[in-house]
Each structure stands twice: as structure tokens, then as C-alpha cells.
């Protein structure tokens, strides 16, 4: 029983860590621009697929992974430059539709550049399962958890200690005030897309050895990441992480103890219930509405 519980917990944490990384990407862009970037899932796909194709052409992981992350970040920057920036001043819903268009475009591009098949990535350090308290997990799960932890720490250092990070944070709190104290708000917006694309790519690379990757893998992961970001509270870093982990654990626990057919539905019911009592998610800002 407890071994079973441990298995569900560890699996939930691994899946949840990926949701958390995607959710962080949503939050970073939301903070800078108040846009929900529905193309976030595509960065996850680009990370995984680019790594597959680079390693396929003979590059070692040490080179392929950084290159794939850079490629995704460049796509993120291009998205901001050519799609979000020109639409400045458009309503939030219009911007959402632009990012949806971008996600369809990127999926179509991936389909043409790469292919429509599923691909497996070699695990970073073998695939001999590790036993922890009766549960069996893959070494790759430890990579997922470890890298996610490292990223969370790095981000909190970045936003708490560096000038650029503080500038980005300031912009999210009050754009006009940030501009007045000399922060280049447009640059912040630009960089936030690059950063969040890079995060998505990392998630895509970490998870590919466990779950395979393909041109349309971003659809579901993007959706789950969005759900996690909302559950945690939009714009909150800690919220994104907790939201992601909670969603992952909720899914595996419902699959294990309740009904595997309805596990996603149960996860969404939980989210709806949380929103019912906490309309801004677990850690969201409860601001008054401007009149």
C-alpha cells in the first residue's frame, strides 16, 4: 500500500515538475505583457524535437541540448518581435488569438522541417530503474526533478538579486512606473519571451526520454501547463511550481485510487473547486478592479 502510494507520489512529482516548468513560462510572459501565450507548449515541442534531430545528426548531448534551447529561445524572441510587438495596443483576446495562430504555425513548421512520427530520446544516464521505498523510478525522473529544482533556484536568484531580473519584476508590478524609472519595458517584454521559450525547451528535453516527443506533443503539455499556472495563480512563480506539482500528483493519485478514465476530469474538478474558493488561484494577486 505504502509502496503503491510512493509510486504514485514520485510519478506525480515527475509529471508535475514538467507542468511546473511550462507554467513558469506562462507566468513569466504574463508578468511582462499580460498575455497568455498559447504557443508555450510549442516551445516544449521545439526543445524535444530539435534535440532529437541534432543528436540524430551525430551531435553529443553536451552540444545538442544547449543548441536546442538556443533555437527555442530564438523562436520565442522572433515570436515577440514579429507577432506580439507589431500588435501592441491590441486587446488581450486579440493577442491570445495571435499566439494561437503562432502555435498552429509552429506545429505546421515542425511537421515540415522534421516529420510527423514519434521519437524517443536516449535517457541522459541509462534506464535502469532505481528503487525508492518500494517504488521504481527511472534515473531520468531524478534529472527532471533535479533540473527543475535548479531552475527554480536560479530564477528566484535572477528575479531577486540581478538588476535585469528586478527590472522585469518591476515591470510586472507597474509598467508605467517601471518606464518612469528608466526601465526599457520593450526590452523586458522581448527578453521574457526568450526566457520563457528557453524554459519550455528545457522541459521538452527533460521529458522526451520518458514520454517520447513529436510535432504535436505541445498541445497537451501547453494545456496542462496553463492549468497549473492558473491553479497556482497567474504571475506567481511559487504558484506555478506548486500548481504544477499539485496537478501532477492529483492526476496520478486519481488514476491510482479513483478512476483512470476520469483522472483528467478529476484534476479539472479540483481546479474548479479551488477557483471557486480562491478566484485568483492559490498564490495569485488579489487586486481590486480598476474602474
Amino acid at each position: 500500500m505504502s509502496a503503491q502510494f510512493m509510486q504514485y507520489l514520485l510519478t506525480g512529482l515527475t509529471v508535475g515538475a514538467i507542468y511546473a516548468l511550462v507554467a513558469l513560462g506562462f507566468s513569466i510572459i504574463f508578468n511582462a505583457s499580460h498575455v497568455i501565450n498559447f504557443a508555450q507548449g510549442e516551445f516544449v515541442m521545439i526543445g524535444g524535437m530539435a534535440t532529437v534531430s541534432l543528436t540524430g545528426s551525430g551531435l553529443p548531448y553536451m552540444l545538442a541540448i544547449p543548441l536546442a534551447i538556443v533555437a527555442a529561445a530564438l523562436v520565442g524572441l522572433a515570436l515577440e518581435k514579429f507577432a506580439v510587438e507589431p500588435a501592441r495596443g491590441a486587446s488581450v483576446v486579440t493577442l491570445i488569438i495571435i499566439t494561437i495562430g503562432a502555435s498552429i504555425f509552429l506545429r505546421g513548421l515542425a511537421m515540415v522541417v522534421w516529420d510527423k512520427r514519434l521519437h524517443a530520446l536516449k535517457p541522459f544516464t541509462g534506464d535502469t530503474p532505481i528503487a525508492i521505498a518500494g517504488a521504481a523510478i527511472l534515473p531520468q525522473s531524478l534529472w527532471v526533478l533535479g533540473v527543475t529544482l535548479a531552475i527554480v533556484l536560479a530564477l528566484s536568484w535572477f528575479f531577486g538579486r540581478t538588476l535585469l531580473g528586478k527590472a522585469m519584476l518591476a515591470t510586472s508590478h507597474n509598467r508605467l512606473a517601471a518606464q518612469l524609472v528608466g526601465i526599457n519595458v520593450r526590452m523586458v517584454l522581448f527578453l521574457s519571451f526568450g526566457l520563457s521559450a528557453a524554459l519550455g525547451a528545457v522541459a521538452g528535453i527533460l521529458i522526451a526520454p520518458i514520454t517520447l516527443t513529436s510535432y504535436d506533443v505541445g498541445v497537451m503539455l501547453g494545456l496542462k501547463g496553463f492549468a497549473a499556472a492558473i491553479l497556482g495563480g497567474l504571475g506567481s512563480g511559487i504558484g506555478a511550481v506548486i500548481g504544477g506539482l499539485a496537478l501532477g500528483i492529483a492526476e496520478t493519485m486519481s488514476a491510482g485510487y479513483l478512476s483512470s478514465a476520469y483522472k483528467d476530469a478529476i484534476a479539472f474538478v479540483i481546479i474548479l473547486a479551488v477557483l471557486f474558493f480562491m478566484p485568483s488561484g492559490l498564490f495569485g494577486k488579489r487586486g481590486g478592479e480598476r474602474v
Partner: protein
């Protein structure tokens, strides 16, 4: 009289009626009729959704769920239990309205992206129930649906359906336009610009939001019922969250807060994939690029942006004319 004709309400209605009446001149076979019927059904959903998004300012990423409930409700009652299709449709519509009413109040307390999430979640839950309860719904492979009949008259074939859907589309537009012009509609628009401001002047925001939510769900449900009978087959493909997003895209693409915009959005985005089929592998890329490009260059949606463009041009033209005259 002339002034009435020229009002956007009557004038627009007449124009739409003329389009529906004249379109068959270029619809040379059943395939074109089929596309036209699909446009009409999507347009009905979008008109309802536009009341919610465009006028009340509340987003929904779950309307495919209501469309699906309408389709499956009709399919199950009429095909499995042998109900008369009209009764099945009415009962389904009523049930969907009740559901929307019950879930509407707690959900619509949420704002912006949280509301988007909650409606998305609602849509996903409906989708999962439909795909899982295969004893009733036939699961992912779907079920066949009997033709729509009223008394002894069977509605069958693309051409008859074209006129039925065309007439219903006009009714939907008429209902929407009347609602917008009514006091309730003005209250809605007040809500859109500022909810607190609206409450201050005595508008019960929650009631109005729920009302519009129910109306939009009913539009979607009726279109779903009709679509099921028209296709003669229903699968969960049209209940996915991707379809919900597609519907919102149609509304925003055509132009928020414009009933005719919703119709144009539905028409363009329903026919586009058919036209783009020639691009084969590049179809998705082109489709995405068209969506992005349109929203970047016409951020208010096709109809309002073009109307504005025309207006400024005409003003400039008439200004030029006056100068010449003088």
C-alpha cells in the same frame, strides 16, 4: 422608413438575407451546399458566443462542450430512445440551459484568464464524459443519428438543410440584435467597460452575466443538435477544447461586439481549411500565418476594422469632394 432601412439592424439583416437567398446561384453542387450549411451552423454558435465575449466581455473556452451536449443529447434521445427529433432537441436545449444556469453563477465570478481556465475545464470534463461513457455515446467512434423530421416531413439533403439553417441563422441574428438594443443589452455593454461602474449604477452584474452565458450555451446547443441530425453522425471530435478555441477564434477574427463579424468569422474560418487543402503539407503553416497576420493588421477583427477603414476613406473622399466643389 428609409432611416429604418438604413439602420444597421434592418439593413444588415436585409443584406444577410440577400446573401442567403442569392448564394445558391454560385453553389454548383452538394459539396458547396455542405460548406454553406457548416458555415451557418458555426455562425449560429459564434453569434451566441459573441454576445458573451464581445458584449458582456466574458471569455469562454468551453463552448464546444455545449455544442457537444446539444449534438449528443439529440443523438441519444432521438436515435437510441426513439424520441421525435424536435422533442429531443427541445429537451436537450432545456437541459443545457439548466446546466449553464447552474454552473454559470460560480464560474462567472471568476475574471479574465481564470474564467478562461474554468470554462476550458468545464469543456474538458464534458468531453471526457462523452468519450468515456461509450454505452450511451458510442465513445470516440461516435454514433449514427437519425434524420430530422417534423411530423411526416423529413429534413434531408444539403439543399433543404441549407434553407433551414439559413432561416435559423437569420432568426439568430435577429434575436442577437434585439437583445443588444434592449435595456439588458445596454447593461451588458456597461458591464464590459467596467463591472464595478455598472454595479454602481444599479446593474446586477451577476444576473446579467449568467443570462448571457445561458443564451450563448443555448445557441451552441441548438446548433449542435442540428449539426448531429444534418451529419447523420456525431463523434467527440467537435467537443474538444481545440474546437472551443476555434469558435473563439472565429468570433475574434470576425470582430468582437459585431454580430455580423461573428458570421463573417465563421464563414472565413470554416471555408479557409477547404481552400488551403491545396497547400497539403504546408496547410497548417499557411492557416496559422493567416490567423496571425489578420489579427496583427486588423486587431479589432475583420468586420469592425474594415468598416472603420472604409469610414475614414469615405470621410476623406467626401472632404476632398467638398474642397473641389468649393
Amino acid at each position: 422608413m428609409l432611416a429604418r432601412l438604413a439602420s444597421p439592424r434592418t439593413g444588415g439583416m436585409l443584406a444577410l438575407a440577400a446573401v442567403i437567398a442569392l448564394l445558391p446561384l454560385v453553389l454548383s453542387n452538394k459539396y458547396f451546399y455542405d460548406i454553406a450549411v457548416l458555415v451557418g451552423l458555426n455562425a449560429i454558435v459564434c453569434i451566441g458566443l459573441n454576445l458573451l465575449i464581445g458584449y458582456a466581455g466574458q471569455i469562454s473556452l468551453g463552448h464546444a462542450g455545449f455544442f457537444g451536449l446539444g449534438a449528443y443529447g439529440s443523438a441519444i434521445l432521438a436515435s437510441r430512445y426513439g424520441w421525435p427529433p424536435l422533442a429531443a432537441m427541445l429537451a436537450t436545449t432545456f437541459a443545457v440551459a439548466a446546466l449553464a444556469f447552474v454552473v454559470g453563477r460560480p464560474i462567472l465570478r471568476l475574471k479574465g484568464h481564470y474564467l478562461a481556465m474554468a470554462t476550458l475545464g468545464l469543456g474538458v470534463i464534458i468531453f471526457m464524459v462523452i468519450t468515456t461513457e461509450d454505452k450511451f455515446t458510442g465513445g470516440p467512434d461516435g454514433i449514427a443519428v437519425v434524420p430530422f423530421r417534423i411530423g411526416g416531413f423529413v429534413v434531408q439533403g444539403e439543399r433543404i438543410w441549407y434553407w433551414v439553417v439559413g432561416a435559423l441563422l437569420l432568426v439568430a441574428v435577429w434575436l442577437a440584435l434585439n437583445l443588444i438594443e434592449s435595456p439588458a443589452g445596454r447593461a451588458l455593454r456597461a458591464l464590459h467597460s467596467s463591472e464595478i461602474g455598472a454595479e454602481v449604477v444599479g446593474i446586477n452584474a451577476a444576473n446579467h452575466k449568467v443570462m448571457v452565458f445561458v443564451i450563448s450555451a443555448v445557441f451552441a446547443s441548438v446548433a449542435g443538435s442540428l449539426a448531429a441530425h444534418y451529419s447523420g453522425f456525431v463523434t467527440p471530435g467537435k467537443v474538444t477544447f481545440l474546437h472551443s478555441i476555434e469558435l473563439v477564434t472565429m468570433v475574434v477574427f470576425g470582430g468582437m461586439a459585431s454580430t455580423f463579424g461573428a458570421v463573417v468569422g465563421a464563414a472565413v474560418l470554416t471555408t479557409l481549411p477547404q481552400l488551403l487543402a491545396v497547400f497539403e503539407d504546408y496547410e497548417m503553416m499557411v492557416f496559422g500565418a493567416v490567423m496571425m497576420g489578420t489579427m496583427i493588421f486588423l486587431p479589432r477583427g475583420v468586420v469592425p476594422s474594415l468598416a472603420r477603414l472604409l469610414q475614414t476613406r469615405r470621410q476623406r473622399a467626401s472632404a476632398d469632394g467638398e474642397e473641389e466643389g468649393a
